[in-house]
Symmetry: C2
């Protein structure tokens, strides 16, 4: 089957109101990298039909953030999706998604007010609202989300659970560059030596894991050694959080299944990463 490009909600709805087979859905903001492609391949393995959306959602960017600069390459994205033989690509525009008089927002409390929610106080409200809309339009059986945006994954799982949406949420492992940098569309912002410095996120996570495996339980000691690596690389730490992987609650001591998550700015580019202990 050829990849079908759909630009309107009404056309997508016509198709989704009558899916004959199981449907997997991967929402993206485009500028696709191996992380996205890995989600898509998993969706294709699990389902007979796969839908990918590309939409740079203005509502999840803060006023000082990079909405206008966010990298875009729609032509290449569509080529990649056609190569993978993706069934449907949903490409709405702002007028479709946020028409005049749009007034409805979805807010997950509590777990959106920590970690990335502190520096980005309106971000998750934008994410939950757009994904809710996309799920209602695409009506998949399963949505596939990357663990790189771990807080986003838990927030969206919570929304789907609380609102009883008829959809499964599947989190998929982080895909990394060969040197360990977590794949992200924003890595394109990293010029020259910043690209190397950006490795400090993953290096600090690996160090934390090593310390834990050696029996170190003092979280302040682990945090301080992580900070050292980041500061040596001119990284500006937004947060380092030791969290329970289900509830996102900060933990007092590490245990298996915990996550360490962090956000760091490298020359103004905000990067996030996380690792399961």
């Amino acid at each position: 089957m050829n990849t079908k490009i759909i630009r309107t909600i009404s056309e997508m709805r016509k198709i989704s109101s009558n899916w004959p087979t199981s449907v997997g859905f991967v929402p993206t903001m485009g500028f696709l990298h191996e992380g996205h492609l890995s989600l898509i391949k998993t969706a294709q393995k699990d389902n007979e039909t796969t839908v990918v959306s590309i939409y740079v959602n203005p509502a999840q960017f803060g006023p000082q953030e990079d909405l206008s600069d966010y990298p875009r390459d729609l032509k290449k994205d569509i080529e990649l999706l056609a190569e993978l033989n993706v069934g449907y690509v949903f490409l709405p525009d702002d007028g479709e998604m946020y028409p005049k008089n749009f007034k409805t927002w979805i807010q997950v409390e509590d777990i959106t007010e920590i970690m990335c929610g502190i520096a980005r106080p309106t971000h998750f409200k934008g994410v939950t609202t757009i994904v809710n809309k996309l799920l209602n339009i695409v009506r998949p059986d399963t949505i596939y989300l990357g663990e790189k945006d771990f807080q986003q994954l838990i927030v969206l799982k919570t929304m789907v659970r609380d609102l009883n949406m008829p959809c499964e949420v599947k989190g998929c492992p982080i895909v990394r560059e060969s040197d360990g940098l977590a794949m992200s569309s924003r890595n394109i912002y990293l010029k020259g030596e910043d690209r190397d410095k950006a490795l400090c996120l993953y290096k600090s996570l690996l160090l934390a894991q090593k310390l834990f495996s050696e029996g170190v339980q003092d979280l302040e000691l682990i945090r301080s050694q992580m900070e050292d690596i980041i500061i040596q690389n001119d990284g500006v730490i937004d947060y380092i959080a030791f969290i329970d992987a289900e509830s996102l609650k900060v933990v007092d001591e590490l245990h298996k299944g915990c996550r360490i998550a962090l956000a760091v700015k490298i020359s103004g580019t905000r990067l996030i990463d996380n690792l399961q202990i």
Copy 2:
């Protein structure tokens, strides 16, 4: 077919994931009256299957409101629904609808902050969240709502539109007692002469309509004459609003299709009513 009583989300979901026919849905808080029954009969006329939910939603009551006193008569409700041959009655409890760790809320901006939203600032957030959940669980083609709660109808239409929910919203006319009092479960609170005094809402609406049909366009004059009727009946006015029926925006002058909506307390019982001009 016998009326089937369903108490869990998982059982309802099993049925709704595979509706073979068109489905109409009437959400209620029980203590059913002719207004509810009229919605149900319309749903039955339009659809092959009808689902009625009965759930007194705590999230739409304010802390000082009548949640614990809200009238309930489940046995009679189920008898009425069985008599009407309703297909499915969904009867969840609080543990089903708001489990521990529930964190997700839907907020329609702007049109929830006027009229009833002033005296009941958290009410519509509770309404939109529960109806969103019920729509995801029941998955009807059409939801039937009464025009008595006119602001609620417009708020829910806005939510369904903005979130692209795969469902039609149908507003149905107010059903009145023979003397004109709009049917409401809360009318049971009206004891003795309060029952007669409560007619002042409808009488004031009829007077406004009469004045408009006679060519009166001065809204302050109309308002003042409505107030006179209400005050003569010991009513305490919460608001009288002249609104556009689509946007709920306050209008400067009445035109055909406008609504007049009001909320009045009679001996502590808060009543609402409205009339299309």
